[in-house]
Symmetry: C2
Subunit: 505 residues, 2 copies
């Protein structure tokens, strides 16, 4: 449903603040920009690009310049920038029965015919999974003054209710915790208090399953795993470059980034939440759910999602699930994910029919990590050298987004903003095809973009980074004293809280 | 009532992070530090200090170094740093009938015998007035995205209830608005929205009056005026230096800082909230209340309070009230206030028996403004030149506080922190006398210090600058959209809202 024009109050709109003049910092950037028409690409065919594609920027700072490349302004000038005036319009379209496209939506035909133009059913499914990934940030306790820093704020039964995601029709069945045996600075969030719930582990995601209604609507019982990412900057991923690690002799030449693998597989008997690894926790739950629903004769699918680091973990998880569970359709919807493994890893995923849709904002640096120079430059040799075990590669299909397509977003350089998941979801919501403008009847709340960024244009009058708790969590007790509140006992993390499937109606 | 020791859990306490070694930035500062025993001083007698006092730092940066001067650590080492463990202790002592000292508490004897050591009744009254001043910050709408930025968040009937100050037994009778005809950068807080309640005026304070119970307890009907200060840095006051302005031929040599006078007296028919000036608004209300209660045969007092700029306005207001209303006892309790006028101004206040208690943290720069060098250096000539009309001077008595006295506060340099009103109130609450340590049975919530600063020691585990609204004021409406909420119509500012005294029971 398009917004009625009467509910739009066009605000006076100054011209975009950047000009078509050569940006000061990027004297040669214009020639280097990939054509906007190539935003949906098959990465395995990248070697067929022209030689100018191989001549990629060789340093991180050169790469940054790409973002200042102006797009002709004509396309922006005619767009009225406004939030719906009365703010009383729905944030999504009415649900439709998509069961007729069940396997296609999960990638059975490599999403051909669904990606360009983007089918509205697929767009909505992508946003749904993206919101599952966003939940891992929104419910994460980042507060270092909290005893429970690094855990989920709510127990699994209340997670979706508290975040407004109950509408999606899924129930969380298990929380996943992770640790790392190797030094990964800026990864673990930890309380500064002595009496903390865990010094080693972080809440890293969850497993959920579609309820009966949603299962009927989408045509299968859908198990979802959502992996939390990291708020570490792009450089964090750069630091991981060049440390590929073999998965063992059973896996041939397959190698993956050892930092990601460490988070996915580390465990220690000395810990409370990682006596088993994230891998073991998640696989146990997936197997349990698959058996449970297969025994009931249901069609089961597994969809794994994550943003940033979470997208990398999603791919490792997909690899493991496809290896371990025969005939299970496994798909990955990742957002701004870095490269994870070598070419053999990608080929093995392809062989196992793991379907991967990588949603990528082209100005985002993280999907170019690790190994910007290394990988792009070397790809032309692939035919000669075969499955190089020392080259990272992307897998699957890419849905390419462009921050310049949205009239709501600022045009300047904003490296963290380009990687922000809410900005991704906004761009997906407005995406029609690789060569059309942002759709103006997009319904998702634009204000969400500024939850943890300042990407929205000033004219919209939305405060930057507004997602914050009242008084940083302190509450005034009946004695008039400000205290860190006791967490509801139900929401105190427990390694023993994952139980049988309680409900799925 | 002292806290039971069982309710204190001493936290492991590292040694203070600064040492008695010479601070890097202050090679000679130790010799310059005023003796701690002189914290309660009669400023008009400052010229009697030794010559070394005249040899004051000649630049702002030199002055900053004073704050790094370490105090012997012995006094700190023996203090257990802890917040009450169960946080279930009262934040103040039970109220006592102080009516027997009514006029002395309002300064009739220049607070002699009450200041050193500080009488507990006076301490409590100072905190009460300080909380009235703090209310002007806590209820101020600083949000530039709010349509009502620069106003009070609540109407006058709800102000004290919403801030937990109803316990003090006062009722707000009028709000005061101010504007300025001269350029005072960083003073006016204004909405970035086009549709704002006012482009010219800010809420600048309020008039309140004690209710019957409180009036009986303190021995008179107490009219309070609380003036809002500014969050501008010390340099803001420095910029005002040297612009003394005459009050007119009726006032002889009296001159005051023209920036403060502008805020106090500006008005314009083109505005909605300053068709009358702050001066006219406040004086009209004071006169109305004085007449009202005098006609009932009551003893009436006027106490004017304010922090920073608010303390300056309090003094102008006191000057005007004492000039205009015969036989009205007028006292000023100011916190971190800068100098306001010349020596003739100070003498005139003294002549009119305006009693001024200036609460001053000795590390705070603002009370040294305007004119650090100028005034301190010149004072020795006073006897020669008489009432110099071009020299700023402080008036009244000073209650000197020292951030180093509190075991809860960090010892490092924190220029904005030294000026923070909540830090002032904390130090008053712990103050016994000029030569004793912070009292350990102080009950005021220490956590309040960090509302808008990071002054509390890390061991206390209190987040810095924690006083913030959830989601920067945005709320999720029933359509799932995040919006700036409509303000309750009752709380929308109105220039016509000041009415008759509604209740004082």
């Amino acid at each position: 449903m398009a917004l009625a024009s009467s509910s739009i109050v066009p605000l006076p709109l100054p011209l975009p603040t950047y000009s078509t003049k050569r940006p000061l910092l990027a004297p040669c950037a214009a020639q280097r920009t990939p054509d906007a028409a190539t935003t949906v690409e098959l990465p395995h065919h990248q070697e067929q690009r022209s030689k100018s594609t191989v001549n990629l920027p060789t340093t991180l700072s050169n790469l940054l310049h790409l973002h200042l490349t102006p797009k002709p302004e004509k396309s922006l000038e005619n767009v009225a920038i406004a939030l719906p005036a009365d703010r009383r319009s729905p944030t999504e379209s009415p649900k439709e029965d998509v069961s007729s496209l069940c396997s296609e939506l999960h990638g059975s035909g490599d999403w051909s015919h669904l990606l360009n133009p983007l089918h509205r059913w697929l767009r909505r499914e992508i946003v749904k999974y993206g919101e599952f990934a966003q939940a891992t940030y929104d419910a994460f306790d980042f507060n270092p003054f909290s005893e429970y820093c690094g855990s989920c704020l709510y127990n699994r039964r209340r997670l979706f209710d508290n975040l407004g995601l109950a509408k999606n029709g899924y129930n969380v069945t298990k929380y996943i915790y992770a640790m790392s045996h190797i030094e990964l600075p800026r990864w673990l969030e930890r309380s500064i208090r002595a009496d903390t719930w865990s010094k080693d582990s972080n809440w890293m995601g969850y497993v959920a399953v579609s309820d009966d209604t949603e299962s009927r609507r989408i045509g299968c019982r859908d198990i979802v795993v959502a992996w939390r990412g990291t708020i570490a900057p792009a450089e964090w991923f750069e630091d991981l470059q060049g440390k590929l690690q073999s998965l063992g002799s059973d896996h041939g030449d397959v190698k993956v980034e050892h930092g990601f693998l460490s988070i996915y597989t580390s465990k220690s008997d000395a810990t409370r939440y990682n006596k088993s690894s994230a891998s073991e926790q998640v696989m146990e739950e997936i197997k349990r759910l698959v058996s449970f629903y297969r025994e009931k004769g249901e069609q089961v699918s597994l969809t794994i999602t994550g943003h940033s680091l979470g997208g990398a973990l999603a791919l490792l998880n997909a690899y493991e699930a496809a290896s371990a569970i025969p005939y299970l359709p496994v798909s990955v919807i990742s957002f701004g994910a870095p490269r994870v493994g070598n070419i053999a890893f990608g080929e093995k995923l392809k062989e196992m029919e793991v379907k991967t849709l990588r949603v990528v904002v082209k100005q985002d640096l993280v999907p170019k990590m690790p190994g910007i120079l290394f990988n792009e430059g070397i790809k032309k040799f692939e035919n000669v050298t075969g499955t190089l075990d020392w080259v990272y590669t992307h897998v699957g299909l890419e849905l390419g987004l462009d921050v310049r397509s949205s009239p709501y977003l600022k045009k300047g350089l904003d490296v963290p903003g380009f990687h922000n998941l809410e900005a991704y979801l906004h761009l997906v919501d407005g995406y029609l095809s690789s060569d059309t403008e942002f759709r103006l009847d997009a319904k998702r709340d634009v204000v969400l973009v500024n939850k943890a960024s300042g990407m929205l244009r000033e004219e919209l009058r939305i405060p930057p980074c507004w997602y914050q708790s009242a008084n940083k969590g302190l509450v005034c007790n009946s004695y008039g004293r400000w205290v860190q509140p006791q967490r509801d006992p139900e929401d105190i993390p427990s390694p023993y809280r994952n139980g049988p499937i309680t409900c799925h109606s």
